[in-house]
Structures are given as C-alpha cells and as structure tokens.
C-alpha cells in the first residue's frame, strides 16, 4: 500500500487522519478511519514541514527499576567516606574505571559504557533527585513519571503528547474523546508540530507515557501482537475487523470501562500490522543476550523502519538490592554489565543505520540507595543518584560534582540537580516542546546538550 510511496513528514491533517493518535482519541467515529490510513506511516528523515523544527529527533527512556545503587554505579573512589560507609560492598579504587578529569569513576562492569564515554557519547549528571524524597518504590517512581512531587496526574511524556496534539483527534473529528484540560497552543513553536505517539516495550505502558487524551502503544513481543483467530478463516477475519471497528454504541459513556476497552481494541488492531512489519527488520549489528538488549534491538528496528514514533520506553528490573548486592562482582555488578552491554550494542546498531545522531537516550532509576550498607551486605532505599544521557548530541563527560558524602540528610545524599531540570532540557531542546507548560512550572534546563 502506502509503504512504497515517497512519504513526506506529517502535516497536521495527516497526523490527524493517520494511525494511532486518532484511534486513541476518537473511537466514537471508527468509520472515519480510511483503509489507507491504516498502513504504515513513515516519516522521512530530513523532511521537515516546519523549517527549523526538527521532527526527526527520537527520545528513548531506559528505566532501571528497583532503585539503582548510584554510589556503586558512578563511584566516588577519591572519597574515603565512601569506603567507610561501605566496608563490605565498596568498589575498590584500583578496579574503578577512571574518567578523565573526574573524581568519580565507573563500576568495572560498566566497561562498555566507558567505551561510549570515550567516544564522547555519554553525559553523566550526578546527584539527581527532588525535594522531600520519597523512599517508596511506587511513590518515587510515580513522582519521576509524573514530574510532580505529589506523584499524581498524567505522565510527563503523556502530557507532552497531549499538549502537542491539541486540536487533533476528538474535537476535529467530532468524536467524544476527552481533550486535554489546558489547551496548550505554543505560539513560539507554531503549527505543524506533531509528535507521533510513543511506544513502550513491556507488558503495559508506563505512567510516564499516559496522557489525558493520548497514551502510548505497548507490547512485549511483536509475535504476540495480532489476533490469531484470523487464521481460522476469512469470514472470521472480517467478522473480527467489523467487531473491532464497530465502536461504542449510542448511550454508552465513553469514560466507562466499555469505552476504554473499545478504544484499546481499536488501537491494537490499527497498530498491529504497522509495528509487526517494523520490528521484523533485522538488526545490523550483534546484540548481547539479555532482556534489555532484546528491547533495545526492537526499538532500533522500529527506528530503522522509519516509524514516525518519537518516544520509546524500555525498562530493566532487579535493582532493589537489599541484600547480597556484591561489590566489584555479584548481583549488582551483573545488572550493570547487562545494562552497559545492551546500550553499547544499541548505539553501534544506530550508528550502522546512520541514525545515531537522531537518538537521545536517558537512563534513570526511581532513587539511589543509602550511603551506608546494611547488615545484609546490601543497601536500602535512598535518594539522589546519577542519570546517564547517551548520544552524540549530549555534552560528553561528568557534568557536575558528586554530592557530598559527609553532608548527608539522615544518612542519605542531598540532591543537587532536580530531575525536572533534565526533563526541561529534553523537552525544550530535543523535543522542541514547551517545557514550562508540560512540567507545570519553570525549571532551569540542565546543560546536557552540546552547544552547536
């Protein structure tokens, strides 16, 4: 179908009429979907509908779930206080990978990440946290996802989708989907600014990508992303399509669970073909054998297939190391090793594709861990921790000093950078969105991007 046509980047109209966003927002008018709009919509790199607005930029989030131990990730090996606090699990100074001009170094398992560092592809922001830190996994994760210290409301990326898509979907199509509460037309950015919906690899879309009107598509594996009943015969396939597109009957509240399920079923059908084709693309480079590597490989394939998706989300768990976390070796070291190998392979693939310059990756965890080890050779929930930013567009190096190991708040690090400063920078400089509106207040953007 439309795959072979020379496609241009989206205009507002095309964005409205094609694919996922509309399906999410306007399920009540399924007849509105045109067969040709169901096909794969691909953005063409370099083609911009608005001069100066880069619609090619892609943002990838890697979430390390469980609370990654920042102090054993970027190790302040020059500070004896670190070794005093961690007699059993401290990473020995002679094993730490030294970084030029920094008093901190990387855990030895992060050697692949050090390679990216040496290529100038890694920026490290230290001491990232937020005021009144919450030590509950769930609450703290929600705070990072919503960019609100209350941890409630829509996700920050969901708000980005919503704010950038005002005027699309529900109202223009006459549907009954709900519109964002605060229409955020951005005079600075003008028209034609249209991010495609995000994709999360995983069982469910993270809160970060849930907006009021628009949420991300999520799936674990492309093989499972289709209705198998269609294989039992054409009449069944037709019946299924007819059912899925039947939409909401009159009189059913679109906010009800029935409304929600109807919209999701429609989204699923529309995105199935598109994504399965994209993920089927072979990688150009070898990936290690880990869950995170598998996820990043899928993302790379989708990028290679020129999906117009702008935000991808992947995650890796197991960082809740309350006991037996190990030092240079052991459980935490293995996790770091998997992470580093996966992200290195990802950038090698992107570089082979020629897409590395388009892809910014941000790695975070809901909190770091306490400075002192506990009685179980592990660490309990803490506060501030480093964030990694990866890609040729980032300011390479260690961007700021490590927070003090002697001036602590009840045994925890005091944060020096609010994570929303990093978000603000990503939103403004990379996604060219109105950060202040999305984040609800003004945060000084962290200087994570190279001066161009």
């Amino acid at each position: 179908m439309s795959y072979d046509l020379p496609l241009t980047a989206f205009t507002r109209r095309q964005f409205l009429s094609t694919g996922l966003v509309m399906a999410s927002a306007a399920v009540a008018v399924p007849h509105f979907i045109q067969a040709s709009a169901m096909g794969l919509q691909r953005a063409q790199p370099g083609a911009k509908s608005i001069p100066g607005v880069n619609e090619d930029n892609i943002f990838v989030v890697i979430q390390l779930s469980g609370g990654n131990d920042g102090l054993n990730t970027v190790v302040p090996f020059g500070d004896q206080a670190y070794y005093r606090a961690r007699p059993g699990i401290g990473v020995r100074a002679d094993r730490v990978i030294k970084l030029s001009k920094a008093e901190e170094g990387l855990h030895p398992s992060l050697a692949p990440l050090a390679d990216l560092y040496n290529e100038g592809l890694l920026g490290i922001v230290q001491g990232v946290g937020y005021p009144n830190p919450n030590r509950s996994h769930f609450k703290s994760m929600d705070i990072w996802h919503t960019a609100e210290t209350s941890g409630t409301g829509e996700g920050w990326l969901g708000k980005y989708f919503d704010s950038e898509c005002v005027g699309f979907g529900a109202f223009e199509s006459g549907g009954r989907g709900r519109a964002p509460a605060t229409p955020a037309t951005s005079p600075k950015l003008g028209k034609g600014h249209n991010p495609q919906i995000g994709i999360a690899i995983g069982a469910s879309a993270p809160l970060a990508m849930k907006g009021r009107a628009i949420s991300a598509v999520s799936f674990e594996s492309a093989d499972l992303f289709r209705w198998t009943g269609a294989g039992e015969g054409d009449t069944l396939a037709q019946g299924y399509e007819q059912i899925t597109r039947a939409g909401l009957p009159a009189g059913v509240d679109p906010d009800s669970n029935t409304g929600f399920l109807t919209r999701t079923a429609l989204d699923a059908q529309i995105s199935s073909d598109m994504i399965r084709k994209a993920v089927g693309t072979r990688p150009r480079t070898q990936y290690p054998n880990s869950e995170l590597a598998r996820q990043l490989q899928m993302v790379a394939s989708m990028i290679q297939s020129k999906l117009s998706t702008r935000v991808y989300y992947v995650s890796m768990g197991g960082f809740d190391t309350h006991s037996g976390q190990g030092g240079e070796q052991g459980r935490h070291a293995n996790l770091l090793g998997q992470y580093a190998a996966a992200i290195k392979a990802f950038y090698a693939d992107l570089k082979a594709q020629g897409n590395d310059g388009r892809v910014l990756t941000m790695t975070f965890s809901e909190f770091g861990r306490r400075v002192g080890q506990n009685a179980s050779q592990g660490t309990d929930h803490g506060t501030a921790a480093p964030m990694f930013l990866t890609g040729p567009m980032v300011t390479p190096g260690v961007l700021n000093p490590h927070p003090s190991l002697s001036d602590l708040d009840q045994g925890d690090l005091k944060y020096t950078v609010d994570f929303r400063q990093v978000y603000a920078s990503v939103l403004e400089k990379w996604l060219t969105a109105d950060a202040r509106r999305i984040l609800g207040s003004k945060f000084d953007p962290a200087p994570i991007f190279r001066k161009s």
């Binding site: 509105f32 799936f219 009943g229 039992e232 509240d253 399920l261 079923a265």
Partner: protein, 525 residues
C-alpha cells in the same frame, strides 16, 4: 497523493457532538438486601462471576432456583462443601545446608579445593533447578484448583490476598515457602483479617521477601514495617516515617529456620517504642494489634474488598467514586464492628442492591486469571495445556506466585493495553480451538470444544434456542457470555452468521464463540 486521498476533507466529517450536560447516572449506594424476586438469571450470573469465576448455564439456573439468600450463603459458607485438592510437593528441595555440609564447604574453601567447591555449587544449582520446576507444578496446581473447585469464593479470595500480601518467587526462590503462604492465605481467606495480618509477619516467604529474616536490633531493616502499614493495612499517609522506624524495631528477631517461623530473642529490640502514638515495649504482634485498632485499617481493607468484588476504586469518575466511598465506609463499619470477621462483610455486599445495580454489573475488567478460569468454567472448554494458560496469564500481566512487586497487581484498567488485548483474545482462541498463541497449525491441540452441550444447557433458560433459530441462539449466547448486547457488535455477528448460510454446526458455534470472546465487552464481568 495516497495521503491526500486518505485524508477526508473537513466537509466529509461528522459534525461535532455537543458536550453532554446532564449528570452521569450512578448506581444506588444502598447496601440493603436486593428484593428476592429481583434475583433472576442475570443476577445469578453476576453473583457467580464476582464471587467466583463465572458459572455454566446449569449452575446459573441452579442459583436462580435457590434464590438470593441461599445462593449467597452457599458461596460464602464454603467450609460446608467438601474439597481437598491439596498439592503434593517436596518440602525440602531448598533446605538450608546442614552443619556437616557447611563445614565441608568451609574446609574446601580453606584448602582451595576448586573441584570440591564446584561440586557443591553444582548441587545447589541443581536444587534450584528442581525447585523452579516444582514452582511451575504449583502454578499449574493452583490454576487447576481454581478451575475445578466447588468453592470458587475461597480461591477468588486467596487470589485477592495473594495480590494484597504480594510475595514473588523470583526473589525468595523457595517453592515450598510460596505454597505454605498460599495455603495460609487460603485457610484464612474468608476468616478474620486480623489473623491474616498477624500471620503474615510469621510467614517465611514474606519474612524473606521483605528482608525481615536478617533484621536485628543493631541494624533493623525497615522493609516489612513499611509495607505492613503502607500496603497491607493502613495505606499511604496514615503513618509517619518514625512509625516505620519504631515498627521495624518491633519486628526485629522475627525470622524463620527451615520451614518454621522463629522468634530470635537475642536479635529482638526489647526497648520502649512509640508506634502510631502507642507507647510500650512492643513486639511484632503488638505492632499488628496497634494497627488493627486504627479506623483507617478497616477502611483500607474494605476498599480492597470493594475493588476486588465490585469495581475500580478510585475509578477516576468522581460521581461513581462518591457512591463507592459511601459503600466502602459502610462496609468498613461492618468490618470493624465485627472485629475484622470477613464473612459478614462479604454476605452483606453480595446481598446488596448496590452489588446488583445495572451500572455495577458488567463493568469490572476481568483479571487475566479470571478471564482464563472463567472461560473454562463458563463455556466448559477443554483446559488443553496448563503451561500455555499460565504463560498467557503472565503475558497478560498476572503470573501466579510472581506478582510484579510488593504492591501486587494494580488491576482494573492497568490490565488492558494494546498488547494484552491481543493476548486476551488469543488465549480464548486457544481454549476454543487449540490454536496456540505462537506457532503453527501442526501444534494445534486436537481436543475439541463441544458447544452443543452449552446450547442444550442454555435452552433451559432460553427455550427459544430449541427451535434452532439463529437469532434466538445469538441472543442467548450474548446474554450468557456478555450479559448484554451491543447493537453494532451484534450486527457484525449477524453478518458472520449469514455468511455461514445460517447453519450452526459445532464449527460455526465455535467460531461464533471466538468472535464473541474477541469483543471488548467480553473483557468485562
């Protein structure tokens, strides 16, 4: 050019629909019993869905004949129904090494005997492998139990408590401890919540999961104390960080040895503590008693029961939440008035007008386990392959014995996304036809679903089905499988039936079931 034809012009678009202004309809908040004469086929279907996993047409008819009170009593007072079904497992796979074994290991270390060390490590790895296999058997056992049990409410409650006191095998790696916890939850499922809360701090799996097994007075671990209040009893905001610290001290020394709970006096902090405003030399049991005194505990647990048996709470729909909050408060009073006995609360709820309100029925999103177990119990499909079913449950986000975190499963809309929607539809295709979610026809299961039996049973409630009239059959199937009909979806099904030239043989009926189970409404109960 393709894009320009694909894009409708503004003129071709439907006119914007005006915003609704009338207030949304909400269910009654009354917990007064439903009038007995209002308890019919659809009410009985609803009761079996929510207090269990759904029933066959015969079972629904039986309850309809019994009436409301007898049906609810039968389901809730399930101890009267005989059922054993215990799991036959080994309790010693992951036993701690004996003194001799430990000595052997130390000696091997001392003399740097790499061969001996490797042999000992291999033994441990083999044990872990055997244990993982046993864990899979226990998963299959529980799923089977849910499918077969004559006491569906007991399993439904066990599933609720499993998500509430969430513990994952992934962390504790001891299948027997997981089973012990499961049996403990089942034994107390409809008993007294105080027993559940008091028992969980003596449960080896939980003690290991939340690291209390090595919490000592000189280094208390706060994990269990925090979750005991945040997730198990009071909810966020009803305790302070200091209560956690003091509570953690009270729990020091609560650990286990092998498969038994042990209280280690020497590691216990006997000093004075103030927990939730109560002063004393509290131990863990005192900590639980103090929690149970708080009104917030009854409200928190009533909210959990409501969410499990009635609907999302909070749902994000203010008008509904207001009604739900009133019902939850009312149930909380029943709970604390009855000193945390659960049966009176459950009976009150299952008898109530609120529970049977048309706006409550058919609006709960099925959990993955409910979807699978319910399909087998309702439609009498073959079970086919328990591993495939457990695998699908995992992909739908609910792997038994592996909750994603101590928070358990979020439930409700969190079950549903574009990916799980396909898994949900596809596992139904598997149950009905044997076609596997992954793989080709060669792997298809040969055992056949027999829809004829379903129709015979349905004819009891809907005599028109006997005539073989396809409209009557469709009506009855939709009422039984969805509890309602959606005109647009129904039209699609009618088209499908016409395309089969009206003849409804077993294959046609099976395909009809496939289509009905692919409807968004089938995800609701």
């Amino acid at each position: 050019m393709q894009n320009s034809t694909a894009t409708p012009t503004p003129a071709s678009r439907p006119a914007p629909t005006p915003q609704r202004t009338e207030p949304p309809r909400v269910p009654t908040s009354s917990l007064q019993p439903l009038k007995p004469e209002l308890f019919g086929f659809e009410e009985a279907r609803h009761l079996l869905m929510r207090a269990g996993f759904g029933g066959s047409p015969d079972q629904i008819q039986l309850l309809t004949r019994w009436g409301l009170k007898k049906s609810v009593d039968y389901l809730v007072d399930y101890d009267d129904i005989k059922y054993a079904g215990d799991a036959d497992v080994r309790s010693d796979i992951m036993r701690e090494p004996t003194v001799e074994e430990r000595q052997e290991y130390r000696q091997a270390q001392a003399r740097r005997d790499e061969d001996a060390l490797a042999r000992l490590r291999l033994m441990r790895q083999r044990a872990q492998q055997v244990d993982r296999e046993q864990m899979r058997e226990i998963q299959n056992w529980w799923l089977t139990r849910m499918i077969e049990t004559p006491r569906p409410l007991q399993e439904k409650l066990t599933l609720l408590w499993h998500g509430h006191f969430a513990t994952s095998y992934r962390t504790i790696e001891n299948s027997y401890h997981m089973l012990m916890q499961n049996n403990f939850l089942r034994k107390n499922a409809a008993g007294n919540f105080g027993d559940l809360l008091g028992g969980i701090i003596r449960d080896p799996a939980m003690l290991a999961y939340l690291n209390n097994n090595n919490s000592r007075k000189d280094r208390p671990n706060e994990n269990l104390a925090r979750e005991l209040m945040e997730l198990f009893s009071l909810g966020v905001g009803n305790y302070s960080e200091d209560d956690i610290k003091q509570g953690a001290r009270a729990l020091t020394g609560y650990t286990f040895d092998g498969n038994e709970f042990v209280f280690q006096q020497r590691n216990h902090d006997t000093g004075g503590k103030t927990i939730l405003g109560v002063k004393g030399n509290h131990n863990g049991d005192d900590f639980v008693k103090i929690i149970l005194q708080k009104r917030e505990c009854a409200r928190f647990i009533a909210g959990k029961l409501y969410k499990h048996f009635v609907n999302d709470f909070p749902s994000g729909r203010p008008a509904f939440d207001k009604v739900a909050q009133g019902v939850v408060d009312d149930l909380a009073r029943t709970l604390s008035g009855g000193r945390y006995e659960l049966r009176p609360v459950l009976k009150r709820l299952f008898m109530s007008q609120h529970f049977y309100d048309p706006l409550v029925r058919g609006e709960q999103i099925k959990s993955p386990v409910q979807l699978i177990v319910g399909a087998v119990r309702q439609l009498k499909t073959p079970v086919r392959d328990l591993s495939v079913l457990n695998d699908a449950a995992e992909r739908m986000g609910q792997e038994l014995f592996f909750p994603p975190s101590v928070k358990g499963w979020d439930g409700g809309r969190a079950w549903i996304n574009t990916a799980t929607m396909f898994v949900r539809q596809n596992i139904m295709v598997f149950l009905l036809t044997g076609r596997r979610p992954i793989g080709r026809d060669a792997l298809a299961d040969q055992e056949r679903f027999e829809p004829g039996k379903l129709l015979t049973q349905l004819a009891d409630a809907y005599p028109a089905v006997n005539g073989g009239d396809s409209t009557a059959v469709l009506d009855a199937m939709l009422r039984f499988m969805l509890g309602r009909t959606n005109p647009a979806g129904r039209a699609a099904l009618e088209d499908f039936m016409r395309s089969r030239t009206g003849k409804l043989d077993d294959e046609g009926m099976t395909q009809l079931c496939m289509l009905i189970t692919s409807m968004p409404e089938y995800q609701l109960c």
